[in-house]
Symmetry: C2
Subunit: 382 residues, 2 copies
């Protein structure tokens, strides 16, 4: 059972799942949070920092790595693991989301998507096959298929047509890298916007393709927390039970917990790393804006319930000083802490599911971070 893609359910608690997923670079224990390492570096921290906070897997962005340093260069350097000196699993996204969010001009055809680099305006073309080829060059453990990420506010007709294109692209992706043709595994991405029936349709179509896992894409694109949860609670539990489920680009602590509650196994988000650089820090007492004057002479650790290097070592007063003076050390210390918070949340969720007390675990966070999408949850639980 050491075949990449092997997925083993260890325990469940309601819809929440405690499982493990085999990859070529080791086993991932889920639910898992994946720090985002856009261009082959999780911003401001080192591989050792990531291991110290318990990161099991990191994400690399296909779009960014294709542009810089280039996937072919990475391949010549022995792949992304070797290039970035990260020997644990890596998931690469398909670039689809970045093409649709970062690139200026873009043109979608049956064949793929033409786009302009956000760096220099140069023109590029991503086909499903090209994106698979890039991810083969990067040598990630988990590949994602090229999809069209439908923007918030798109109408039903557009969304319905788009999901069929996403399905055709998904099939071409799998054909470009048949299951077992290498050590990498491939996930399909369920689209369908904010229409439950279209989500189901997308899932039905993708389920016919032999992916090792399924992702939910196109959420957290501008909709309300309630709307996000309406889709999540609808489609999450319907994803194939014997395969890993990944909620892409989500999210805040309560979003992750509610994703787990909906049966999701994997999460990634730039929130902990980006907010760290903006001085917004997640703690067991809630969010802390470290630049506030109240921390000027606060000798306490940032979070007395956290065991990360930052909290073990420095005072809030010093962290505030570093942030206010824009010292580079500030970015690293804040990032280490925020990642520790998100990774501890996932580790705590794993333990809570094993112990059959996930909802109580979730409640601890809701008491601090607030109860989002209350109505939808009640509908879900009734």
């Amino acid at each position: 059972m050491n075949q990449p893609g092997t997925f083993t359910l260890r325990a469940t608690d309601g819809q929440a799942r405690r499982a493990s997923l085999v990859t070529a670079h080791g086993v991932i224990e889920t639910p898992v949070f994946m720090p985002v390492g856009t261009v082959g570096s999780v911003k401001a921290v080192s591989p050792e920092d990531l291991k110290a906070v318990g990161a099991q897997i990191i994400l690399g962005n296909t779009y960014h790595l294709y542009l810089r340093p280039g996937d072919e260069l990475v391949a010549r350097m022995g792949g992304l693991h070797r290039f970035a000196r990260w020997d644990r699993p890596i998931l690469t996204d398909s670039g689809g989301f970045q093409v649709f969010s970062l690139s200026g001009l873009r043109k979608i055809t049956e064949q793929g998507v033409e786009f302009q680099s956000h760096l220099d305006g140069s023109r590029h073309f991503f086909s499903p096959e090209k994106v698979v080829s890039i991810q083969k060059n990067l040598g990630s453990d988990i590949m994602m298929v090229l999809d069209e990420c439908v923007a918030w506010g798109q109408d039903r007709d557009y969304t319905a047509k788009s999901l069929e294109l996403t399905t055709r692209w998904a099939r071409r992706s799998r054909e470009a890298y048949p299951r077992g043709s290498g050590g990498q595994i491939m996930f399909g991405i369920v689209q369908g916007g904010f229409h439950e029936d279209l989500r189901e349709e997308s899932l039905a179509q993708l389920s016919e393709i032999d992916f090792e896992g399924f992702a939910v894409g196109g959420l957290s694109v501008g909709e309300s927390p309630e709307e996000m949860r309406r889709q999540l609670y609808h489609i999450g539990p319907k994803l194939p039970a014997h395969k890993p489920r990944y909620l892409m680009g989500v999210g805040a602590p309560m979003d992750i917990l509610d994703g787990i509650m909906a049966g999701i196994d994997m999460f990634d988000c730039v929130l902990p790393t980006r907010n760290a650089r903006n001085g917004t820090l997640y703690t067991s007492q809630g969010k802390v804006n470290i630049k506030r004057a109240e921390y000027r002479e606060d000798e306490r650790p940032l979070d007395s319930n956290c065991n990360c290097y930052t909290c073990r070592t420095f005072s809030r007063a010093y962290l505030r000083h570093l942030y206010v003076t824009r010292e580079l050390l500030s970015y690293r210390l804040n990032t280490i802490h925020n990642l520790a918070f998100f990774l501890d949340l996932a580790a705590g969720a794993r333990k809570a599911i094993e112990d059959g007390r996930f909802m109580a675990f979730r409640q601890q966070y809701a008491d601090v971070y607030g109860e989002p999408g209350k109505q939808e949850m009640e509908a879900q639980q009734s």
Copy 2:
């Protein structure tokens, strides 16, 4: 002999000295290079990073720390060691150099110097006593007296008058903190510009004051390497032999080696840290501009003769990629390496002096970094 200020010569090799200096936070082995931690953080690295590259002592800037976060706040936080979580020795400068180089308007009187903050234009006044008070609040191991740092190009009359003011300020500084009145020790600063006789006069006046060490100030302010060496070789060996000698704000690798050759024990400079952030890296093969295209696919370590974390772990190709993409990790990895290079240079010099082969050790660097101020060295050695 554990009294702070105790200075023990271990070996000499020509004018070069191998010694140790006792401070309240431990013994410093000299010759020593001191990384600059401007506002209580050596830019881009952590206390653990500094220890890993062998930093024995770091420098804090009185001017910067007085402005932010304020010396009184630092005192309430238990002093700079506790605030920044650095338990090894700290030297604080007098703020004089920053007042004369960073501040806009400034007015020098017998009493002290009025200046404007470079941050917000606010007006402040440094007297010798105030600067001692600030350094007491910071709790550094080695305090520097307020001096007037004479600019390159000032005439002889101004310089002669200025050095007498510096002497009077030095005397007031010592009176504000008599020897042994606490765990901190205090160094005087020899000025005198680019006139050998004025340098001698400054030293003669300061020698009458009971300082634990002496610094040479006002070099590396715009003069040629030859002119710098002319002063250094003249005054270095004349500084009291039984006390530590500190060449302030110097310098490049050959400057440090030539300082050691002139009998200097202590050095500080922003060059390794600042250049690291600019992508200029010091190696045993010379300077490397890491952004150059030739390193795009260079899998070798930055310096195969270096044992720092950066060189043990990453390739030039990855370091180039991090630099080109402006990843924050780049600053840390580059800084770790450059500091390792400067600290290894000092450690190598210590060993070479013990072994009586300092000039051969120096020559290894001169072969790579070039021979500066050749004429003056020959004059010195004849």
